[in-house]
Subunit: 396 residues, 2 copies
């Protein structure tokens, strides 16, 4: 399939991608898709689809997989059929001219801990001398709820958080800005259709429940976290800001990226037993001020998006359109593939060199973190929408 | 102040209370207040206040303390001035005739662990032989995010959750319904005004940020929790359902209930240093199938609602109108004052006797749990709206 949009082929946003987002177009928040270096407002083309006129994707997500597929097919037709050109061209705008907004109104945000390499590395650091993976880790995807109200869209700056931290060797904690501000490169899953309270979402319902994926930076304060997190988990250290990309890539665009997840050495209970290759070959890149510091391979993640959803709802918790759940930090097995600075710098002891000659143990004020990713398609690759954010100094 | 509403005095819903909620009145969701055994739709009386016409309290909460106080004063005047009677009476409906709905659209729900007696009792059970309170407990209010999408209003039944649990002595977990379904009696705080991202809410801004309190039952699966909760906190065991009362009691009605919190034996960092008596003398009662099994005194809770909010936002996390944060289980120092069955029955080893002659280690299908509370007022006491729910069998 070839689009008549000239710069689409090879751009990462070809007609086989068609991510959705929300952008300011003509002084209004509009649902948009992207083809090459232009954005398009689908509501202008499909007046019979009122859910596309909203200021967030939620009504469209709630409409369910039949509508997702219908709109995708129609867009594909218009963007490949030369006769579509006259219809579509009036509604194209350069992507550089629009500001991306939060694509969804998030009800609940859950963060998992699905990468074995990440969990092992952090277990070694936080519990030295002990078995790095806790006994439950290979039986269930460990997760916790994050703060949906502080999920922000790419481009939004992040104020360095304060909190309680206990300096090494001190008895009592102090209150001040974090000195160990970290990034976490993650993949997010955006829920489309609602589920019923009391009824778990089975593995097989993953693709009819989840609309697509995004990139997530789950900013973390590494000196606040160890003091606060026992026994109920991370709180202040991870609730101040979580950045997400503005573009949601539909699962429908990722068929060629599906791979088998890593081999399971521990038997899984039936509700978590893989019933299809829902690993995803997303190749992430993490850049600090333009220097790529890591290339985490999402395919190495132990738990799949389908398993995360099945476990999230196994107790009967329901999901709502626009809910977001993320993989947790994506870290690969090899050097230079970890998705956080605490791993890449061995908790700050081995600073990274940036292209400008400076070094980083953790993030400095003014630093810009950008997470990007590509995924294979039938004919090449697509580019996920990046997630970027700049650190502002702590407020007094 | 005496109301002309005949059954108001002594009802717990006198004119010095005036809680707010949302109920079905005339086939529509309406914001209501309660006086004696009748409900009243304030929007019918104050056409200049459009935020009262919404189907949730969120727009009214967002309007801020000036509007909260104005509406309260006007209602008080109308309900005490005999001339108000002719104005108000057409809009009174018997409370027995209306169904309460969720009073707020909750953005984020946070649960704390603010009762020293509860944290100590659970520490003894989960970490026998070790110091029951962890080193951070008296320095900061430990908390975690819950699932806002599964907060339900009083009267909504709760399906017994399933999940992974590891039977005593077993190596591998099994999947099945919880056999240790517990209640947790808590006090919830409903946020009114939004705060700015990156800017903590100081202790002194508590009463202009939080509108009022409700009662909460944070249902918990005690056999799922110990297997899943390390290292990131409770997840499936507490995300299937959290019940809240339909009536929100304004802080403005609780002036006579304010008390000093328990003595602080550990110095507090300035951002948490009490600057006024924000302990609240709420006297809870927990009933199972009509038998009162506990009377937890909220005044014994170590951390105040003002401190919980200051800590929740110390990292710069913002709050939104309608956010809910809860105290965690309220347990007093004496026998028969714990707010959970795990404490009252010593993890099921000392079952409770109910009035019908049956006993309970944990909750059985069909059980109804009701949490109620009273608080002193200048002239007597008020009754908080109760929170009740019945357990339905697990789904297959």
């Amino acid at each position: 399939m070839t689009s008549w949009v000239r710069d689409a082929a090879g751009s990462g946003f070809d007609v086989d991608h068609l991510p959705l987002g929300v952008a300011v177009v003509g002084n209004r928040a509009r649902i948009v898709t992207r083809i090459g270096n232009t954005v398009l407002v689908p509501a202008e083309l499909f007046p019979d689809r009122p859910e596309l006129t909203a200021a967030t994707l939620n009504p469209f997500l709630a409409a369910g997989p039949g509508v997702w597929e219908l709109v995708r097919q129609r867009l594909t037709r218009l963007l490949t059929d030369p006769a579509g050109r006259a219809v579509v061209e009036p509604y194209l705008a350069p992507v550089a001219d629009v500001t991306m907004l939060m694509p969804v109104d998030i009800g609940d945000y859950v963060d998992f801990y699905a990468s074995e390499h990440h969990a092992t590395a952090l277990g070694r650091m936080f519990r030295p001398g002990a078995e790095p993976l806790l006994p439950n880790w290979k039986h269930l995807p460990v997760g916790y709820h994050g703060r949906s109200g502080t999920v922000i869209v790419t481009g939004t700056p992040v104020v360095r958080p304060g909190g309680q931290l206990r300096p090494p060797g001190a008895e009592a904690p102090v209150h001040g800005p974090t000195t160990k501000l970290d990034l976490e490169a993650e993949v997010g899953f955006v829920v489309g259709t609602a589920s019923q309270p009391g009824t778990p979402v089975r593995l097989g319902a993953f693709a009819s429940t989840v609309f697509g994926v995004c990139l997530v930076n789950d900013w973390s304060a590494r000196d606040i976290q160890p003091w606060e997190y026992q026994p109920l988990g991370p709180f202040v250290a991870k609730s101040f800001a979580t950045s997400m990309s503005g573009w949601i890539t539909p699962l429908a665009a990722l068929a060629a990226a599906r791979v088998d997840p890593p081999e399971r050495t521990t038997p899984l209970l039936p509700y978590l037993a893989d019933d299809g290759p829902w690993g995803l070959d997303l190749r992430l890149a993490v850049a600090v001020n333009g220097t790529v510091v890591s290339r985490p391979p999402f395919a190495s993640t132990y738990w799949t998006g389908a398993q995360l959803l099945a476990h999230l709802t196994v107790g009967g918790a329901s999901v709502r359109p626009g809910d977001l759940y993320a993989s947790g930090t994506v870290s690969g097995p090899d050097p230079g593939t970890a998705g956080s600075l605490i791993e890449l710098t061995a908790n700050g002891t081995h600073p990274l060199a940036l292209a400008d000659g400076s070094t980083r143990a953790y993030l400095a004020d003014g630093d810009t973190v950008t997470i990007s990713a590509t995924a294979p398609t039938a004919t090449g690759h697509l580019t996920l929408g990046e997630v970027t954010g700049t650190v502002l100094p702590a407020r007094r």
